[in-house]
Symmetry: C3
Subunit: 370 residues, 3 copies
């Protein structure tokens, strides 16, 4: 079997994504979800890819005009639009980060239902800390209460991993050591006394080490994102000392990575417990460049270390685009190597299946859950 | 119309360049202008591209020997050589940085005349400060006098923007805040008391904030350059906190960017007022790699955010090479996407025209000036 | 002559490599040498390239199963396996770093004998310092004794250069200045009083400046490596201030560089005495990506500045793979430019020979030695 066929047949595991907005979106709302910034959204690589690949899913011609696209989207309604894009992604399993909800999004169960797929949950640890703060906690009880709250959160049915957005909050230039209890109390005293999200370096370190203690797969946002990111502080190689201290049994999944996919690949190649994806990147660069980014990400990465994710958020188009860009990019890369005699056809199919589904199944122990 | 034809017909706007040396150059002078360093200049990608693409403009066969090339150049004389290369660039508009003149260069008017084109001026702010120092100014009057001098400079006819080479002087690891008046005076006291160019971090910050107050398009050298650059401090992502504080109405144009074109693209994608080009890079990497660099620069950049510049300096060959590399690189990229069905032909032509001329016309308000 | 033929005929100079293990390796030992990390070694780009390109050297079909590969390797025995792979590399000259020997490796003479080639030696300076420590030296005699030991080591027959692994020990964020004698004595006092390898910043700076005084070609590990590397501190652009202070007569060779090959290229383009290779990278990324990495490394690098090295260590497969990836990658790149009309055929052949052998002969003065 050729690689593209194998990938077309494969039900992907999308190991990191978010819900979609369940209600209809007006043009400003749609456009603001289409890009991380919100400038000229249809004349971005993403916008061009939406017009090319998503328009036909809505029964329009490829390259439909944005006005036509938005009109048809409104005509069909959110429920039907979401259903179509989720189906077009041919994704069997979603691991949904439920912790980022400036907009009301579908729950994992609603997403699974719309996609006729299975959905698991990933607990965003900063949200756990911030809920604790909102609920009221004494500084000297913070460490214990946070640990308790995390353990409770991950015991909920369907939780398969945890996630941190430390990249956004402090960046990765952190002291790699576990903070002492008195440091945590002191930091909590300051943080709890003022409004604001979790951005204290000691508490972020405590959060990361709590994740290690929990021992579930830990997803880390790395690389680009919205304008809150300071890109040079989100280079995952800054985390090397910390990764060196994390025990082998705790999988650490570097998400997105762009433009540091080679740095992430280095980490995945030397640390047994480190994995990576190029989620988010895929729908931002679109099918035209997904192969080039994957080729860099895979230059030295062991094939057991690459996962698929869409990082789709808000608009269901990104499920379709992420899956398409991944299937085509990885398919072109592997088939190209087969055609050049660099890779055997059965190996190519095997490695495609690993990246598209099996690596995630193994790391998140998804098969144990059926 | 196919993209390459559209780009061939389009009169480019070169939004950042310098003058050319108006007199004849001997071999050492020519070679030292050919590269940022000056080692084996004809056996660099630039030198190979000059022999390939510039030799025919001088009626020589492609790949002419350097000796033959230099002899023919001398035979034709600077005036004719400059005329030919400027015409071959098919550039209708130049925005000329007039502030870097270790060699006597053509003025914008002379450049426009030789090219039968229009030339505007970009004011290099470090040169304004250094002229102030040379003319004598009291430390406690520095801030006011610098502001006055900048406002005066930009009121001159034909000035369309300002430029900073902070990347060379301090790098971008700057405190993003506007310095307090007493800080500026203190820093001016030290700087004015000693010989030397503007390289004080407080005064560079003051310069950048003065540019913001002026409100004209602000060009920033980023990425590589000559051996005075410390490349890791010229990564534009180091400027993120500062960019976050710049109001949306002030366009900031990241010049060159290589090898940080992806970092620049991230900034252009999340900040409404940030733009980029890969000038300088184009003639350094030559047509053989211009497409690859542009492809990275455009991975996530909105198409309304890419501009063309040659950053040509001293030798007129770079006008020809920059324009050729841009037209071919962007043409191949867009036509390739058309051929793959990823982009519609009219969109491709439209986006080519945006990048080659219309984005610059809009940002610098060039149409208002005719 | 076409470029690939020229490169096939050319006896390469491998300007940086190590010995091979002369005895048979069991599976864990072989696998641990196959990657920098040791995870799923056969399902990495290197492992796939070994199965593809090395299996036929052992009379197996391409893409042989790992079990079959290891069985055949054991059957032939280390001596025959090493002989075959060394011959297949068609390398005429090796410069062997003899200072990294956690495993017993062949000496340069043994390597030369197995390859029917010439081998020179490169002295690893950290090992000189560490032997001094092991032998006992007083802190206030350290500077003088180290200098004496280095001069003695480089006077040994066949020594053509020195090497530092400062990238591993302190990274490149070093004070570029030569340390004062009393600083060195103070640092030596601390370092000599405790067990451990040379990782003191003052002593590493002293080591680098001693290398400059010796004046032989100085190899510097840059970029990726095993898990001891902190990648962001191994970016060679961090060394710019130091390189700026090194006199032009001392060649500095940036090894490996990935993923900072563009940063290294910038340095090679502006500093007369700086050179680079993408050794180690070649067999890690394999022939499938060697061309892409070389294309980035060569974007602005003068062609007189690129060298070939395998950085092969331990297993002889890497000699074959490195040479194959280099010949194919560079051949494809140059022939592609010839086919596109960007480069003349004689220039292409000349530049291929420079990079494959002649640059190294000139820099290390190898021709003087016959």
């Amino acid at each position: 079997m050729r690689v593209h066929e194998a990938l077309a047949e494969l039900e992907l595991v999308d190991h990191h994504c978010h819900g979609v907005v369940p209600h209809d979106l007006d043009r400003p709302a749609f456009e603001s979800l289409l890009t991380e910034g919100g400038v000229t959204p249809f004349d971005t690589p993403t916008g061009i890819a939406v017009r090319r690949h998503c328009a036909p899913v809505l029964d329009l011609a490829p390259h439909a005009h944005p006005d036509e696209y938005l009109a048809r989207r409104a005509e069909l309604g959110a429920r039907e639009v979401n259903r179509r894009f989720l189906h077009a992604a041919r994704t069997g399993t979603f691991c949904v980060d439920t912790g980022h909800t400036p907009l009301p999004l579908t729950t994992p169960a609603e997403l699974a239902d719309a996609a006729r797929a299975t959905a698991y949950e990933v607990v965003r640890l900063e949200s756990v800390a911030e809920r604790l703060k909102a609920g009221g906690v004494e500084p000297d009880a913070y460490a214990e209460e946070f640990t308790r709250a995390v353990h409770e959160a991950v015991r909920a049915p369907g939780v398969v991993g945890v996630k941190s957005v430390a990249a956004y909050r402090t960046g990765f230039g952190l002291d790699p050591a576990r903070p002492a209890p008195e440091e945590v109390t002191r930091a909590a005293r300051t943080w709890l006394a003022h409004a604001g999200r979790l951005d204290d370096a000691v508490l972020v370190r405590h959060l990361l080490w709590t994740a290690v203690d929990v021992g579930m797969p830990l997803q880390l946002h790395t690389g680009f994102g919205d304008r809150d990111i300071r890109l040079h502080r989100a280079d995952p190689s800054l985390l090397t000392d910390w990764l060196d201290a994390v025990p082998d049994r705790v999988p650490v999944l570097l998400l997105h990575c762009w433009p540091y996919q080679r740095q992430a690949a280095y980490l995945a190649s030397v640390f047994g417990q480190v994995y990576l994806d190029v989620g988010l990147t895929l729908h931002h660069v679109g099918p035209a460049r997904a192969g080039a980014v994957l080729a860099e990400a895979l230059e030295i990465t062991p094939f057991g270390k690459l996962l698929y994710s869409s990082d789709a958020y808000g608009v269901a188009e990104f499920y379709t685009l992420g899956a398409l860009a991944f299937r085509r990019g990885l398919g072109d890369l592997l088939q190209g190597r087969v055609d050049a005699g660099e890779l055997s056809p059965p190996d190519a199919v095997r490695l495609a299946r690993w990246a598209g589904a099996e690596n995630a199944r193994r790391i998140y122990r998804l098969s144990d859950r059926f």
